[in-house]
Point group: C3
Chain length 371, copies 3
């Protein structure tokens, strides 16, 4: 498949500088791109690669000096090259895997399940009683949709996903392989030395346009719903405990863990491997740094890092000071020695001083042991 530069430019709303009849057959990174391919440069650090690229065309920002255009390379000038290139890629992306025309004969679909139009249900998929699958939705091989679960329209469920009974997924949701939606929340009541299971009779609600990575776990609520709101994106191996709510348009990076009943606001970023305590609130627009351990609520817009998590600016200063601790210890030892000498001199000034050196050395030795 091949499109002209003019067509791409029109699709992404950019202006061509160069030959707009150039044929493009694919996309690649600036360093790897070959003749016939489209690339882009967004980060100014990479602009120096434009001169040497073999790409036939480059998506660039308005700030980029068009005069630097190398021979034989055309440009498409846009406001946001990364976003524009992402959209251009959809012109070249291979078609989604054809899973099945309708329901694959090996799939096991309950008679009471309600299937929309234009669906594609792959080999060995299991759909239980009273589940509903919306129009245009694709469920890849080996996935499971539990009793009374509801999956919306134009949603994609990749292979080997588990959606347990009663859970609800919206439209245009994407769920990657191995993910489990609606497993029981981790709730036990301690009676004596036995842990009595607290039944988890709520569900999980995933709103429209959410994407969930591979091997993610989202537990059902004890009562009510665990909820991921519209447009949020969750990376691989994330843990979302029972009764958690994640607001609109938030980003949860790989291996984050969110404990029970915590509320994450809208537009929040939780960076990789961060951990959140239960029953706290992360305000809208807040950012939690990678590996941070958040034990208290975070106000809207705040950036936190470290363990226990605190304002990122304060945490950074503490990390810097940590590196200087050995010098600080040295300074304190030096001061102890100097003060001991002063004390001896001052004492000797008053009475008749003696054995002044010994005292100072003592001080240094003692602090060697202590610190």
């Amino acid at each position: 498949m091949s499109v002209t530069l003019a067509e791409v430019a029109k699709f992404i709303g950019g202006e061509v500088v160069g030959d707009d009849s150039t044929e493009l057959a694919g996309v690649a990174g600036i360093k790897e791109a070959r003749k016939g391919e489209l690339t882009f440069v967004s980060n100014p650090r990479y602009e120096r690669y434009v001169a040497d690229t073999s790409a036939s065309a480059v998506v660039v920002s308005r700030d980029y000096a068009a005069s630097a255009r190398p021979d034989g390379t055309s440009l498409i000038v846009v406001d946001d090259p990364y976003d524009a290139f992402a959209r251009a890629m959809t012109l070249f992306a291979p078609e989604g895997e054809i899973v099945s025309n309708g329901v694959h004969p090996s799939a096991v679909v309950a008679e009471s399940a309600i299937l929309g139009e234009g669906i594609s249900i792959g080999a060995n998929v299991v759909v239980m009683d009273d589940a509903t699958i919306g129009d245009g939705t694709t469920i890849h091989a080996g996935s499971f949709v539990g009793r009374s679960a509801a999956v919306g329209r134009e949603t994609t469920i990749y292979p080997n996903v588990t959606i347990r009974n009663g859970c609800v997924l919206g439209d245009r949701v994407i769920v990657h392989s191995g993910t489990v939606i609606g497993s029981d929340g981790f709730g036990f009541a301690l009676s004596g030395c036995l842990h009595t299971k607290v039944p988890q009779i709520g569900n999980v609600v995933i709103e429209d346009d959410v994407e969930i990575g591979a091997n993610v776990c989202i537990d059902r609520a004890t009562l009510g719903s665990t909820r991921v709101c519209r447009g949020s994106k969750i990376d691989n191996l994330v843990q979302v405990a029972h009764n958690v709510v994640i607001g609109d348009g938030s980003i949860v990076v790989a291996q984050v863990g969110i404990s029970g009943s915590t509320r994450v606001g809208s537009g929040v970023v939780l960076a990789g491997q961060a951990g959140l305590s239960g029953h706290i609130e992360i305000g809208d627009g807040a950012m939690v740094a990678a590996q941070a351990g958040v034990t208290k609520s975070v106000p809207p817009g705040e950036r936190v890092s470290g363990y226990p998590a605190r304002k990122h600016s304060a945490a950074k200063r503490q990390y810097a000071l940590m590196e200087h601790l050995p010098k600080l210890v040295g300074s304190v030892k030096g001061l102890e020695s100097r003060v001991s000498k002063l004390e001896d001199v001052v004492e000797r000034g008053g009475a008749a001083g003696a054995a002044c050196g010994g005292r100072a050395v003592d001080g240094v030795e003692r602090s060697d042991e202590e610190i």
Copy 2:
């Protein structure tokens, strides 16, 4: 389905205050509950919500002032409201998903497998040669039971679980979706620059009443057994390496990692994302805080936190001091300046002093660079 307040009270061993003929049709949280529902209050912080609840009945503690009972709301008075409510919930919990009456026709069960009475084996389940499944056990769709594996009685295996060959599960065990029991331990012998695989010929033993969350990994032992003892509860995405032993009634929260051959005692709590080194011992009743990195054995009953993990009380004091490091650095700078001035005064007192200010400023500037 509906039950009377009197029936619920009898079931959980509580005393009714109010109308014991009240009909109850469901359970909910104190803020969400509506007429016809049962709720509870355990944490005194939530007692203020009792006045406004729409619930028809509330499970409360003996300490709770019964006089505060709002009109139209009945109470059930018990010793432990959380535990009692958890048990009451089982009266209202929807029946477990009906997986199959017996073996689903699409399941692939080896002829040599031994199946108990009253079992339910779902669609596309695979049971290999010589495996045994105990009476009353349910295996949901898409799960795999390997050769010679043994699953006990009244155990529940949720969809898409993998139980590899030779592993043993007890009675009333619950395993959530995506979990892998009996994958090879991570063992390699280095010969030159090649890593030679050490065969992992042991198995995994899961004792009675254990619950294991979703996407958990429990590796088989190199030799012998990796073992999770009676009544322990493991949350999602936990890693249990080869030859680990977890004692009775322990709690392992989400995303914890336990390295090879480590022994975790009974009644231990490992909080979320904690990591344990290999070949160490965590004593009975010990508690490891969230994200702690435990590099040495922990005595029974001890609480540890931080990295490397140390007594929680000491760690907390260190975190507090960390926040004050900038002030400590300021204090040391101030002292250096004051001591320099004193030295100049004392020197000048003995000999004829000169250029005293320069020295002090020097001291401050030097420490600015250092710290």
Copy 3:
């Protein structure tokens, strides 16, 4: 099955001390081994157990004093007991699970898929169009091989693995259950408050002799390939983001997370739960400690730990100093008090001094508040 000590010694290239006709039927650890079993001792700490072992034979190092050989126990003397024992174990390891003779009738294999000779494809496996499976490869029950994916020769895919379209696996690769290869990388372009998905049109390449644990996620590249090079070993629950490259013979321990486009060299060790930022480089032979948070590139051969990760030697010193912070604070308070006294004495020496004690107490109190 039983072999003689002479046969084992020949197989692992060792010398027998004792009765080389001893029959051996299995292997076990030094403490658990019984008569008729082979064991080993590699760590000098365990040599004391040799005297009491019930094993019929022990693999020992040349350094081990053969004279200490207990009655009735034979020895095999080798250069590296751990490596030699690992190889000896293969003589006793049970045969791999017989998955199927050829393609199991319940498997769904596309007509256009190309299958090698001597393959074994288990129950409910799904192989999509144009996929290729090499000679002698085993794919266990419930696994999925996507369109145009290529799996090499003598490779083992355990149950419930997902290999998405276009991904390439080499020869003698092992992939454990629940692992997902080729899920979409986590890439979004922000336009306004919406996250636009960046199509992930690259793939994943797993080279020869790589082993990948259970529930691992390896995302496909945005463009090009995410790559794990020859002989590297990846433990359970690891996250490998899009466009990451892991060099030859590296070890990635459980729950490690590697962010997008980071390059990990050859012979690197990433210990458990470590996290790596994106777009950085970990030099050949570097070691990253457990739970470390690596935010910058690491030079070849360097050991780093902590958050943010720094040279392990410096980090260790900082941890030690952290423990002594309370004493350091005490020292500074003590100094403030002593300096205040000196200042009072020196001032009094010049003018007529008064109220000297109050000042010193002030100093201590002030620093109490500050620190």
